[in-house]
């Protein structure tokens, strides 16, 4: 009968079911996405493994089944572009996943996302960098995500460039030994992932619990009417449970539809640099089944729990049972239990062993759910003490005193999300030092570096880069190591040789005078003793001819006479190195060919797309030139992706809860439509009623945020203790998280004002 009531209540009934179904559906969709994430990540991992082209493999002779491949990755507007230059050496050359054949020299096959970018105006500068004709697209099996930017370009004469690093000869893709790597994570990062999941999913559960109670007051009145015609208390409860079950079942259907729509949409979006193909998002069957069972069961339980405090009597009277004083003791049990679960892991930081995932998840969940049990008690206790004020204040306070549970339920989700986010921020702030290392680079002297492949005549490149838009200064230096004996036997002592114009060398050392043709010995750096031993006029040293596939033939070089002295200074890359410095005229041509060039660039950031212009110049010089943007610090990629993932998740959760708040706010207003109209009828100012709605939301949210801050700080402190990091509170993050929660509430209140004003119209008084 409850199920029938859910659908046969006319327009009102349908709206209620629809609201519940949309609310539950959004939550279910989010849960399904979560259950699909492991499979999506696994597919991405497998696809990435399948296209591995290890360039530092064993030395191989040219054969019918070999392929020459060069890594020509680049970056465009902050997005990574995976690039490979390919030259099959025979008919049996291994085919990269996603390709049906290799492009001819001058052609390329591209990922669909790259094709779209290159065809658009936004991709103009990248098109200049990749001047190949597009001959096809890479299939899904060759890409890790739908939005991945990737290309394979046909090339020729790559053989002389084999260095075992960027260019190699391979006979297969994937792991050389056929195995797959297990991508094992740092235990602290695993802890982060576990906590992130717990933190993000708890508000979703809270949201679902709130969604099944939409329209509760009207339902209570309907149940009272049923009591009048003879249904007993037990029957009314069963009917109410049936109604909730119906709403949640429709919600499951909606959730599945939302998920399927979202799955299709997932193919066209990229979140924090990660995109997937719709086929990747397959929920784990067991987890999906759990969602399908747990959500309706939770809906029924929540409804029955909600009816506990309501006495439904006949004669249309629904009287809230004399509210039992909320007891604190059992509400404290949950957070206390959470702390008890987390306590044994305190101090088990990095290197001390792994965290027990069950205890971590259990502890975090209990602490966060503790927010939802403590908040109603706190709201009740505080609003009971609130004094009298203006009419708006009085109306709000009295409403809260009468049903503080409803108000607390409305903010529970936000409070849990904020508590979790504060804890995460603390943990991130506490451990980010361990995942951030100083690059030592002096970003005041240069902001970009272009590494040129060995053999590229680096000296003229300075002029090319200087002529590039957005470049203030270009400093080109070549370098190579010198050993005391033939590199095939392995030198005992080595010192660096650096080549550059006098101006360029001054970035590495201080010299009293410098002219082309001069040779310097720079001291005062890290390896003075070796320099003193080797850098002697007339001594024959041996140039490093080793690359990724082994040492080449011996290349001796005799230290010239007339060595001048120089003092090593900290170079733009942050190193103070002693060694031999040569101006161009002092370098024999055979030595010049062995040098590896690097160009340090000072960039004018006010020039739009300066980085892209520089990368284009680098690509024109050599497609394998590697342009890198400098930063003073760099963080672990895994750490960064978890952090950005958390932010994205927190934003999604807050948006979801904001939507639920809005829906339940509108639901409440709808219930009070007639009363609002009558208040306006006898002259109540609309401002007064609007203010009262604002207070009604603001008071519980303020209490919720206070509690969230306390629980968040506690949880954060425990998590930091667990990883053995000293306690510290990043108050700006705490404030920003709290402000984000408050902003959601203010936005919801602002959005509910227009309907409130509409509902205050006199039409609300009409009954016919």
């Amino acid at each position: 009968m409850g199920v029938r009531f859910a659908f046969t209540g006319g327009r009102e009934g349908w709206i209620r079911v629809l609201l519940t179904a949309v609310g539950v559906g959004l939550g279910v969709a989010l849960l399904l996405v979560t259950t699909a994430i492991p499979s999506a990540l696994a597919v991405r991992h497998d696809r990435d493994e399948a296209r591995l082209d290890y360039t530092y493999g064993p030395k191989r002779p040219k054969a019918a089944n070999t392929l020459l491949i060069s890594d020509s990755d680049t970056t465009y507007h902050g997005d990574d572009v995976r690039g490979r230059l390919v030259e099959p050496e025979g008919p049996k050359a291994p085919l990269a996943p996603g390709l049906s054949k290799y492009p001819a020299p001058g052609e390329m096959v591209v990922s669909p996302a790259l094709k779209k970018l290159l065809d658009s105006g936004d991709g103009r500068l990248l098109r200049e960098r990749l001047p190949y004709r597009i001959a096809g697209t890479i299939g899904e099996s060759g890409l890790v995500g739908s939005q991945e930017l990737a290309y394979y370009a046909g090339a020729k004469n790559l053989s002389p460039r084999i260095d075992g690093y960027r260019t190699a000869r391979i006979s297969e893709f994937g792991h050389l030994d056929g195995t797959t790597s297990s991508n094992s994570m740092d235990p602290v990062l695993i802890l982060l992932v576990l906590v992130v999941f717990a933190v993000l999913l708890t508000p979703v559960a809270v949201f679902i619990a709130a969604a099944v109670r939409f329209g509760g007051e009207r339902r209570d009145r309907r149940l009272a009417a049923l009591r009048l015609v003879g249904s007993d208390t037990r029957m009314t409860r069963r009917i109410a449970a049936g109604e909730a079950l119906a709403g949640s079942l429709v919600g499951l259907v909606f959730g599945t539809v939302f998920f399927l729509l979202g799955r299709q949409l997932a193919g066209s979006v990229e979140i924090v640099g990660v995109s997937v193909f719709p086929s990747y998002l397959n929920p784990a069957p067991a987890l999906a089944a759990l969602v399908a069972v747990a959500v309706p069961a939770a809906a029924v339980l929540v409804t029955l729990f909600a009816l506990r405090g309501v006495v439904i009597e006949p004669l249309g009277v629904v009287r809230t049972a004399k509210p039992r004083r909320r007891r604190l003791w059992w509400r404290l049990l949950l957070p206390a239990g959470g702390l008890a679960l987390l306590a044994p892991m305190i101090g088990q930081g990095r290197g001390h062993g792994d965290f027990n995932p069950y205890l971590v998840i259990g502890g975090v969940l209990l602490l966060l759910i503790g927010v939802t049990t403590l908040l109603p008690w706190i709201v009740e206790a505080v609003v009971a003490q609130l004094g009298r004020g203006g009419i708006a204040w009085q109306l709000a306070v009295r409403r809260l005193q009468l049903s503080s549970g409803t108000a607390a339920r409305m903010v529970n989700g936000i409070a849990v999300a904020v508590a979790g986010a504060i804890a995460m921020q603390m943990l991130f702030a506490g451990i980010q030092g361990e995942y951030t290392k100083n690059t030592g680079r002096d970003t005041t002297r240069a902001q970009m570096q272009v590494s040129l492949p060995q053999g590229v005549d680096f000296l003229p490149t300075a002029a090319k880069f200087s002529a590039t838009k957005g470049v203030r200064k270009a400093t080109a230096l070549g370098s190579i190591d010198l050993g005391d004996r033939d590199w095939r036997r392995g030198p005992n002592t080595t010192i660096p040789m650096t080549v550059g114009t006098c101006d360029a060398l001054r970035e590495e050392a201080r010299m009293t005078s410098c002219h082309d043709g001069d040779v310097f010995v720079a001291k005062g750096g890290d390896n003075d003793a070796d320099v003193a031993k080797l850098a002697r006029s007339g001594r024959t040293l041996h140039i490093n001819t080793t690359n990724g596939i082994g040492p080449g033939k011996d290349a001796p070089w005799t230290v010239p006479g007339h060595l001048q002295q120089a003092t090593a200074i900290t170079s733009p890359i942050g190193m103070r190195t002693s060694g031999v410095l040569l101006t161009p005229a002092a370098v024999p041509e055979r030595v010049n060919r062995l040098l590896t060039g690097v160009v340090y660039l000072s960039v004018d950031k006010s020039v739009p797309d300066a980085q892209e212009h520089i990368r284009n110049t680098a690509a024109r010089i050599d497609p394998l030139a590697d342009a890198v943007l400098w930063s003073a610090t760099e963080r672990s990629k895994q750490f960064d992706s978890i952090r950005t993932g958390t932010f994205a998740g927190a934003i999604c959760v807050l948006a979801l809860i904001g939507a639920s708040l809005l829906v339940s706010q509108l639901e409440q207003l709808r219930e009070r439509r007639k009363l609002l109209s009558s208040l306006v009828a006898f002259g109540t100012r609309r401002r007064t009623l609007s203010l009262s709605v604002l207070w009604q939301t603001a008071i519980p949210i303020a209490l919720g945020l206070l509690l969230a801050t306390a629980v968040g700080l506690t949880l954060g402190a425990v998590l930091l203790k667990m990883v053995g990091v000293s306690l510290g509170v990043d108050w700006s993050s705490v404030l920003s998280m709290t402000a984000a929660g408050a902003a959601v509430v203010l936005t919801v209140t602002a959005l509910s004002l227009p309907p409130l004003i509409r509902m205050m119209r006199p039409e609300g008084l009409r009954t016919e």
Partner: protein, 229 residues
């Protein structure tokens, strides 16, 4: 039709439509200070719409309404709201008390909306509650009192500001006859003693019997009835 001499509230040729439904079609009305006028008619005849127009809650599509010589159409929403707060009182079929406030706070509410201090407003409210025999309910919430008691609280609320006109829309519609009669006695006695006019919308002849004059509304048109003695 011209406004009868000495009338406090007068409406002429009122027209009001809700979409395709014509609720008022040339209705007229007038009331003198201290007079009780019953507006009668079957359901859907336009009685409540007439009351809403007279009270300045709903603007008519055409026609004029003058209160104490002032044209309501010439007032903006804030002015009409101020008029309702200070000069008019309201009683609705279901009381429409604010469920969160106690009975005395409900009665005091219109005074507080006018800026009276809480203490003074509640003192005045208690005085009216005594007159309407519900002073023992002062600390109770509307959900804790019976329908008849709630309606008497609503009557007290309508009179607490000392209005010159009380608008009562089916004030006994949700009450049994005994309670209904008691509410009507108290309402009309209190209004007369305060020299407040009462516009009483009802479809019950028994309730209309408490009025000095009756107006019947049918199909949006009004007609003054001679009281059969």
């Amino acid at each position: 039709m011209t406004a009868p001499a000495g009338s406090l509230l007068c409406a002429e040729n009122l027209r009001k439509a809700y979409g395709p439904t014509l609720a008022l079609d040339g209705a007229a009305f007038s009331i003198h200070p201290g007079e009780v006028v019953a507006v009668m008619g079957p359901s859907g005849s336009g009685k409540s719409t007439l009351l809403h127009c007279l009270a300045g809650i709903v603007p008519p599509d055409s026609g004029s309404i003058t209160y104490d010589g002032r044209e309501l159409a010439g007032m903006n929403d804030a002015e009409r709201s101020a008029l309702r707060r200070s000069e008019f009182g309201f009683v609705f079929q279901f009381g429409q008390l604010v469920p969160e406030l106690t009975c005395v706070e409900n009665v005091a509410l219109p005074l507080r909306l006018n800026g009276t201090s809480r203490k003074q407003a509640e003192k005045a409210a208690l005085g009216w509650m005594e007159r309407l025999e519900v002073d023992d309910l002062k600390g109770k919430r509307p959900g804790e009192v019976s329908g008849g008691q709630g309606q008497r609280v609503a009557v007290a609320r309508s009179l607490v500001t000392g209005p010159r006109v009380v608008f009562a829309d089916e004030p006994t519609g949700a009450l049994d006859s005994l309670n209904g009669e008691r509410v009507m006695e108290l309402l009309t006695d209190a209004a007369r003693s305060a020299n407040a006019a009462v516009v009483l919308v009802t479809h019950e002849a028994r309730v209309a019997a408490y009025s000095d004059r009756e107006i019947v509304v049918r199909d949006g048109k009004s007609r003054d009835m001679e009281r059969a003695l």
